[in-house]
């Protein structure tokens, strides 16, 4: 199980999240799907901070990122990920 990496879904709209999860599930993927509500959560998750300080290590296989989000938007998240080698 642990060898399969996560799919990270970041969207502030619960309807969009639901539809995305529905779509992913209909594909019968085995990966665990982690849903987050905004950019700051996504960054916390990626850098194992705050709430996610003790999550299991490892980067997600895919990140589905909504661009327009409150607080930290998708563009900001992307810039931070790209600037980090």
């Amino acid at each position: 199980m642990n060898s399969l990496r996560n799919i990270l879904l970041v969207d502030d709209s619960p309807r969009d999240t639901e539809m995305a999860v529905h779509a992913l599930e209909s594909c019968n993927l085995a990966n665990e799907i982690i849903t987050l509500r905004d950019g700051s959560e996504a960054l916390d998750y990626l850098y194992c901070r705050g709430e996610y300080a003790f999550r299991p290590r490892g980067h997600p296989a895919v990140i589905l990122l909504d661009l327009k989000m409150p607080r930290v938007d998708g563009i900001e998240v992307l810039r931070q990920i790209k600037s980090d080698p």
């Binding site: 709209s13 309807r15 969009d16 539809m19 209909s26």
Partner: protein, 894 residues
């Protein structure tokens, strides 16, 4: 004595005086006889004592007559005194005795005299004959020098007649050089010298001189000189000739010696019998180093090395044998002093009277130096020849160069002799159309048009005769094809030919002539233009004097004609202060070259302030040198007034536009923000509608009624339409806002890519694609992809109802430096009267049932193309298709 003898006292008493004694008378007698006999050779006694017949006779008569007469007279007297006879008888007897005695005495005398005379005459005649016959000349000369007598030999010898010789002193005939000597000799004779002998020259009648030998003896008692004279001219001459011939012989021997000794050649004479040297000269001594004494009586064998001596001897024997001269061009000789000397020798035989060779004469020239010199000269000649050859080659090259130059000259070149061409280069043929042969075949004036023929002939004549050396003139020549060629001929008399020659060049100036005419027309046109232009136009020279002025300007300065202005300056027409300003203006222009362009300034005039616009520029020649100042002025009073009004209006308008613009901009911004946020925010709920309808469809699969299914589908379609509308609006908005890149875009690749992306949508369609090779353009790739997607999408959409859709993508050339691209279809087309609506947002020309669409696609196209600086337009016919054109900048070729 007589008195005593006759006893007559009267005789010896002398009258009454004492008579003289007898012995006194006898003594007186003896005294008288003594006186007479004292000088018997002088006075009266001379005749008596002379040996001449007269003297003999006289002496005889004295001796016989005196005693006879005295005796007779005494007898007569004694007879009378004694009286033997009468006195009368005595006297008669006395007279008769006298007559008898004297008569017989005279007869005897006459007889003896006659006899003597006859003897004398005989002797005289004999003498005279000898005198005349003698070849020698005899003459008797008076002591004063005149000839008394001479014999005919004089005449024969000298040619003078006797009279001529007697008429002048003898010395006159003597040679002037001998005169003094002769006179001296004569003087000696007069002094008593018994005889003289001398020779002198006497002139003949024919002017020649003869040598005469004189032998003169004087007979001073007679006052005469007797001379025998002999002509010694001939003996003298032969003596002289003999002397001269001896002299000559001596001299020629001397001359020969001198020549032989001093000739620069070596000369020797050998005896022919045993070949020993008889004679050598000084040069031979010098050359051989052997002295003269050593040579004489020796042969070559004793003097030279053996081989040389043999060679010489062999040659000598040849001469003796053949008896003719031989010439030995080069023979070496071993000289003691000079080493080996080269000689050029001629050996000549000298014959004796019998015709045998007696001597051999050798003449040798030392040619050692000459041979060396000749060798040197030969070398020099070879060098010279080489140089001449080189020079000739160079000259030939030069000649060929010049020939090429002449043959390929861009100017016609010709040579005239007489009145014919003797040479024309190819350019001449090119200008005038005749071949070189045709040129040479006719007199030069034949080629010239009739009116120029006389001047051409005259110009040729003047140069050939030398009255003009060089002439340049224009003439017209008949071209071979009949047209007239204007030409400029420039010919120069050439003095390097024997016959008078003109070398000349010819330029075809037909075009120049036409250009000049054109120029004249243009100048006239320009002048007309200048004069009738509304502005004031003037031209000044670099000294700022007027050169030209158009009518308006002339009038402005108050002059009646342009000619009143030319040469004058502004100071002649304007007040000092103003003129100074204008002039400074011109100076600055001339100095800096910076033109005055449309400078507007007010002028005070009688009608108030007049504004004029002034432009002053420099006119320059082709080299950039300043030729003149050109000035143009316009009256812009009216314009300025209008402009002022317009400025006021503009200011107002601008203000209003500004207000309106800012309002519009604000509204636009709002609209933009609004449309974006609307589009984006609308997109989310719509997505939810679509998503959930889809999920509903899946979760109720097979459970819904057909009606419910139709409802679900309608919701789906409507939300799709709405999504499309929102997408289009977002795109349209985005295209208005984003910054566009400008890179090279390959339109063909873009078009093909777009078509490929539509593959799914057209898989059941029959479409004939026609894609021309498309150029690269300059633009934003993403925006242009959007344009192509919209246009091709439209074409596909509107041809949906065609069985075979034809869609063409191509390039239709250029417009204002931009490429015109188009997308053409054979679809539904449109009515051109609505074409203006085609590119408006939400504007549609078809019903939604026929062709779906948002009415934003073409607006987006227009916006993108517009932002690229181009334009888009459409052409179409209803039901026959439409073509959308758009322009883009071509990419620069990389």
């Amino acid at each position: 004595m007589i008195g005593y003898a006759y006893q007559v006292e009267w005789l010896y008493g002398l009258g009454r005086s004492i008579p003289m004694a007898l012995h006194t008378a006898a003594a007186l007698h003896l005294l008288a006889l003594g006186i007479f006999s004292a000088r018997p050779d002088q006075g009266v006694m001379q005749v008596i004592t002379s040996d001449s017949p007269g003297g003999v006779l006289a002496r005889r008569m004295f001796a016989s007559l005196v005693p006879v007469l005295v005796l007779l007279s005494w007898l007569c007297l004694a007879g009378q005194r004694n009286g033997y006879y009468e006195p009368d008888l005595g006297v008669t007897l006395h007279t008769l005795a006298h007559i008898g005695i004297f008569g017989s005495f005279i007869w005897w005398s006459a007889k003896s005299l006659h006899r003597a005379d006859m003897v004398r005459q005989q002797a005289e005649a004999e003498r005279q004959r000898f005198f005349s016959l003698s070849i020698d000349m005899f003459c008797i000369i008076y002591t004063d020098g005149f000839l008394k007598r001479l014999n005919p030999a004089f005449n024969h010898s000298l040619g003078h007649t006797q009279e001529e010789l007697l008429a002048r002193p003898l010395v006159d005939f003597v040679h002037p050089d001998d005169q003094a000597a002769m006179l001296a000799e004569m003087e000696k004779l007069r002094q008593g010298l018994p005889a003289v002998f001398f020779e002198n020259r006497v002139q003949c009648r024919d002017g020649t001189w003869k040598w005469l030998s004189w032998n003169i003896q004087p007979y001073l008692s007679e006052g005469l000189l007797y001379a025998t004279v002999r002509d010694v001219t001939e003996p003298k001459r032969s003596e002289k000739a003999l002397r001269e011939s001896e002299e000559r012989a001596r001299w020629s021997s001397l001359f020969l010696d001198s020549v032989i000794e001093n000739l620069p050649a070596m000369i020797f004479v050998k005896d022919a019998t045993d070949l020993h040297y008889v004679r050598v000269n000084r040069v031979m001594e010098d050359l051989t180093g052997i002295s003269r004494q050593d040579f004489l009586s020796k042969t070559d064998t004793e003097l030279y090395p053996e081989d040389e001596a043999l060679f010489f001897a062999q040659k000598d024997r040849e001469i003796v044998a053949e008896g003719r001269m031989i010439d030995i061009p080069v023979e070496p000789l071993h000289s003691i002093t000079r080493g080996v000397v080269l000689l050029h020798t001629k050996k000549v035989p000298i014959f004796d009277e019998a015709g045998c060779v007696k001597y051999i004469l050798g003449i040798s020239e030392d040619i050692t130096a000459r041979v060396a010199t000749e060798r040197e000269v030969r070398q020099l000649n070879a060098t010279l020849e080489q140089r001449v050859h080189e020079r000739t080659t160079a000259l030939a090259a030069t000649e060929s160069k010049f020939r090429t130059l002449v043959e390929q000259s861009l100017v016609g070149i010709y040579i005239i002799q007489g009145d014919h061409f003797v040479y024309t280069n190819p350019k001449m043929s090119e200008i005038l159309g005749y071949t070189a042969e045709e040129f040479l075949s006719r007199p030069v004036p034949d080629f010239v048009v009739d009116s120029d023929r006389a001047i051409t002939a005259e110009n040729i004549r003047m140069r050939l005769e030398g009255t003009a050396h060089e002439i340049r003139y224009h003439l017209r020549i008949k071209h071979h094809n009949g047209t007239v060629v204007h030409a400029e001929a420039h010919g120069t008399r050439s003095d390097s030919h024997e016959t008078p020659t003109i070398i000349g060049t010819m330029l075809d100036i037909t075009e120049r002539k036409h250009a000049e005419e054109q120029l004249t027309r243009e100048r006239n046109l320009l002048r007309t233009l200048i004069d009738h232009l509304p502005g004031y136009i003037f031209v000044k020279d670099t000294a700022r004097r007027y050169l030209l002025s158009n009518r308006a300007h002339t009038k402005l300065l108050g002059a009646a004609a342009e000619s009143e202005l030319t040469g004058k300056t502004v100071f002649d027409f304007f007040p000092e202060e103003k003129a100074r300003r204008f002039d400074d203006d011109d100076k600055l222009l001339l100095h800096s070259g910076v033109p005055v362009l449309e400078r507007e300034e007010p002028f005070e005039t009688n009608a108030g302030v007049s504004w004029r616009s002034t432009t002053k520029v420099l006119s320059r020649d082709a080299q950039g040198g300043i030729v003149s100042i050109v000035g143009i002025q316009h009256d812009i009073t009216e314009r300025r007034r209008t402009e002022a009004e317009i400025r006021v209006l503009n200011t107002e308008l601008e203000k209003r536009v500004q207000e309106r613009t800012s309002q519009l901009e604000a509204a636009n911004k709002e609209l933009e923000a609004f449309s974006y946020s609307v589009s984006h925010d609308l997109r989310a709920p719509l997505r939810h509608v679509q998503g959930y309808v889809e999920m509903l469809e899946q979760s109720t699969e097979g459970q819904l009624s057909d009606k419910a299914k139709h409802y679900v589908k309608t919701i789906k379609d409507s939300s799709t339409d709405m999504g499309q509308l929102i997408d289009d609006l977002l795109e349209f908005s985005r295209m208005g806002r984003v910054a566009l890149a400008e890179t090279s875009v390959q339109m063909e690749t873009l078009a093909r890519g777009t078509i490929q992306s539509l593959e799914l949508a057209v898989q059941h369609r029959n479409i004939a694609w026609k894609i021309a090779p498309l150029p690269r353009v300059l633009g934003d790739p993403a925006a242009l992809r959007q344009v192509m997607a919209n246009l091709i999408g439209n074409a596909v959409k509107y041809t949906r109802k065609r069985d075979t859709a034809e869609i063409e993508i191509g390039c239709a050339g250029e417009e204002e430096g931009r490429l015109v691209l188009f997308v053409k279809d054979n679809g539904a087309g449109f009515d051109m009267k609505y074409s203006h609506k085609l590119f408006g947002v939400f504007q549609r020309l078809h019903r939604a049932e026929d062709f779906e669409g948002t009415g934003i696609g073409l607006a987006t196209v227009q916006r993108v193309i517009g932002r690229h600086g181009g334009r888009a337009w459409a052409e179409g016919v209803l039901d026959h298709g439409a073509t959308i054109f758009f322009t883009l900048k071509p990419a620069l070729a990389s």
